[in-house]
């Protein structure tokens, strides 16, 4: 196994909120990879899976634990599209923008969302209820256009479908 020459003087950083048990999951991933800098991406995956997004405290903690400069952790977190530095809304609506979905009407779905919710891709409604996101390609091209509502993938989505589904999420709209 790879070791990274951990110095005797190396003090293990404490998680941003030590009482939060969820940090144990993050620690487990870092330990599995020997606290080596090459485990950075895997560790960030665990943080995002556990907390939903990567905030500054989390980045500082992971960077310190793996002994990489914060700039590198930040660089990696912002380089990859999958990582997000902002918490998502209560519900997420991911519109696939793959080629098949694009030519089968994904841009129209996005503009309908914009009309309905007033937010574009990467944005969350001001009440924090719904986030609109885009995906490069979900690989559900056979069912284009595809949309992921929270975790459910729906295929052959039409604008009325989308509107109905979103309406269910909106608590009380007059």
């Amino acid at each position: 196994m790879v070791t990274s020459g951990i110095g005797a003087d190396f003090a293990k950083p404490t998680p941003p909120n030590a009482s939060d048990k969820r940090w144990k999951l993050v620690d487990a991933t870092m330990r599995r990879l020997g606290h080596h800098s090459r485990g950075l991406i895997e560790s960030l995956h665990t943080v995002q899976e556990t907390f939903g997004y990567l905030d500054e405290d989390a980045l500082r903690y992971v960077a310190a634990s793996l002994r990489v400069p914060l700039s590198r952790a930040y660089g990696v977190a912002t380089f990859y599209q999958f990582f997000t530095l902002k918490p998502a809304g209560e519900h997420t609506c991911v519109v696939c923008m793959g080629t098949a979905c694009y030519i089968k009407g994904a841009p129209q779905l996005l503009s309908s969302l914009k009309r309905e919710l007033g937010v574009g891709p990467g944005e969350t409604t001001p009440d924090g209820q719904i986030s609109v996101l885009t995906a490069r390609c979900l690989g559900s091209c056979g069912l284009a256009p595809a949309v992921v509502y929270d975790k459910d993938v729906a295929g052959k989505v039409t604008t009325p479908d989308l509107r109905n589904r979103i309406a269910k999420w909106k608590p009380h709209v007059a």
Partner: protein, 547 residues
């Protein structure tokens, strides 16, 4: 684990399955899963538990059956395929096990979509349960690995793969045998193996489907490759966007470890190999091998100049073999049946079969595996069932953002690496998107350029700035604000990017623009001179494009 023990597992699995007179297979790959196929599966199971079926009946959750557009798909062992099955259909399907099939659900299998395919990579997809290693073993799984470990030397393995004529299925088409022998000859303290499952092309889902339907096939291919090149550790770099594929790979690795197929001294030989997953995080550039290596090392996925090639200096500075999912998936059948058998399929320079993800404006969308050399017309019109709503074919896009759009005149061209390149496109990883008259080719070119612009890693200037400039010009054209000057600028930029970018992303980014300018010049002309979009997609004015 010895060959005898493997045979025993296969035997007892076959025996177990022969206890059932009937087998009902439900597709639980991602496509059908998003149409609630799991609910269908549990409805069937519940129904079977509630009634006595003479001879017994088992329900299998299997991988992709191909025709994703008609899912959820269910098949019975009398060769009947049902489409668009809902929970409520469970009892009707079970009633019909011995009698006539349920008329209104039947999906005909005597149509070109099924008959024209040649299945090698997908031979088990739709038949076996991806989450049970025993089922894979019963379908001759891991027998090629046994053969390799007990009867062949590494150089014999490489020779067999070279003889097959297999070329890299990730897109570039580099001869696999040659790559393997380079890594085998390279000197290093340790050698690594990587499986590129970062299927970043929008419009391609072959690798995902193979991983979800038959993950052990990929592991077996990796093991054989590792033995041949002398690698002891491997990574599967898979997109985080494919949770089901990740889950099934994790299960497959655990099962193989438990049986001693992965690990130390595999099958009592001196060969040891372990595999771990690394999740991609959504960067198209990581399909480029040096960028992928950087990402596995936990860094930003930025490419570096080659040479040195990864075969000499790859992961952690050691010799590394990188192949794509589909390439590894071809290995076991090649060993089982011999390289000469594989070389008989396909064309002179492109051997074997290719899996294509057929999507877009075509009636049958889904996954198809066809011999190399088949014509585009056969794929689009026979297998794909033509264009819906009686519209006119306009183009087929292959190779994703690095490929091109092929117009009608190429419909009868045999599909292989050389022909596609000659026509201005590439084989790519196998995405095939059909477009009809409702698509605007300038808009499609802009779509891909926008993609390349945001996926450019930013390391080299021609790609970082060039894709931005090209995208701006294309945006201006689609808003009818560009003239001849912009068109010639666009042409200049295509040459610049092609010849000066650091990696494949930048070098191939202009391809969609070049091919659409070449074959659909009239559409560009209509936008520039006539200020109109023949397909009615582009609009002038303030409405800015998002994305």
């Amino acid at each position: 684990m010895s060959p005898e023990e493997l045979e025993q597992i296969a035997e007892s699995e076959r025996e177990r399955q022969s206890c059932f007179k009937h087998t009902v297979r439900v597709c639980v790959a991602a496509g059908c899963q998003s149409c609630q196929s799991e609910a269908v599966q549990s409805a069937l199971e519940k129904e079977i538990a509630a009634r006595q079926i003479p001879g017994g009946c088992q329900v299998k959750g299997v991988g992709c059956m191909g025709l994703c557009s008609e899912g959820p798909l269910v098949s019975t062992n009398r060769g009947i395929l049902y489409q668009k099955v809902a929970e409520k259909d469970a009892s009707a399907i079970l009633d019909a096990l011995d009698g006539d099939p349920v008329e209104e659900l039947v999906c005909r299998t005597d149509v070109p979509f099924f008959e024209r395919q040649t299945k090698i990579v997908l031979e088990n997809s739709g038949n076996i349960e991806p989450e049970r290693i025993e089922d894979y073993i019963a379908a001759s799984g891991y027998s090629a690995l046994m053969q390799v470990l007990t009867e062949m030397t590494p150089s014999q393995v490489i020779e067999e793969v070279s003889k097959s004529g297999l070329r890299g299925r990730g897109g570039a088409g580099y001869p696999t045998g040659l790559k393997w022998s380079t890594v085998a000859k390279a000197v290093g303290e340790k050698k690594y193996l990587i499986c590129n499952a970062d299927e970043g092309d929008p419009g391609a889902f072959m690798d995902r489907s193979v991983l979800e339907s038959d993950p052990h096939r990929v592991l077996e291919g990796m093991l054989i490759a590792a033995y041949a090149v002398g690698a002891s550790e491997g990574f599967i770099y898979v997109r985080a966007e494919y949770p089901l594929a990740i889950k099934r790979l994790r299960i497959a690795i655990k099962q193989a470890e438990r049986l001693g197929i992965l690990g130390i001294n595999i099958c009592g030989t001196r060969f040891s190999f372990r595999v771990d997953l690394r999740l991609g995080a959504g960067a198209f550039v990581c399909g480029e091998e040096t960028a992928l290596i950087a990402s596995v090392e936990g860094k930003r996925g930025m490419p570096r100049p080659r040479p040195p090639y990864p075969a000499q200096e790859g992961l952690f500075g050691e010799p590394t073999l990188i192949n794509n999912v589909e390439t590894y998936a071809n290995i076991a059948p090649i060993i089982r049946n011999g390289g000469a058998w594989y070389a008989k399929i396909g064309t002179e320079k492109s051997k074997g079969t290719k899996v294509f993800a057929l999507a877009g404006r075509v009636n049958n969308t889904g996954l198809v595996e066809v011999p190399m050399g088949i014509s585009l017309r056969e794929i689009v019109y026979d297998i794909g069932g033509g264009i819906p709503e009686g519209k006119r074919y306009k183009a087929v896009q292959t190779g994703g953002p690095s490929g091109g759009c092929l117009p009608e005149e190429f419909l009868d061209m045999p599909v292989d690496y050389e022909n596609l390149a000659k026509a201005g496109s590439i084989m790519g990883s196998g995405g095939m998107i059909v477009m009809d008259e409702s698509s605007c080719m300038v808009d499609v070119a802009k779509y891909f350029m926008d993609f390349c612009m945001s996926e450019s890693c930013g390391k080299c200037v021609p790609c970082r700035v060039g894709t931005y400039q090209m995208n701006r010009i294309l945006e201006a054209i689609t808003r009818f604000e560009a003239g001849q000057r912009e068109i010639s600028q666009l042409q200049e930029l295509t040459d610049l990017l092609k010849s000066t970018s650091l990696c494949g992303l930048g070098q191939s980014a202009p391809n969609p623009v070049i091919s659409t300018m070449r074959y659909f010049a009239d559409e560009y002309k209509a936008h520039v001179d006539g200020h109109s979009c023949p397909a009615g997609i582009c609009h002038s004015g303030d409405e800015k494009d998002e994305g």
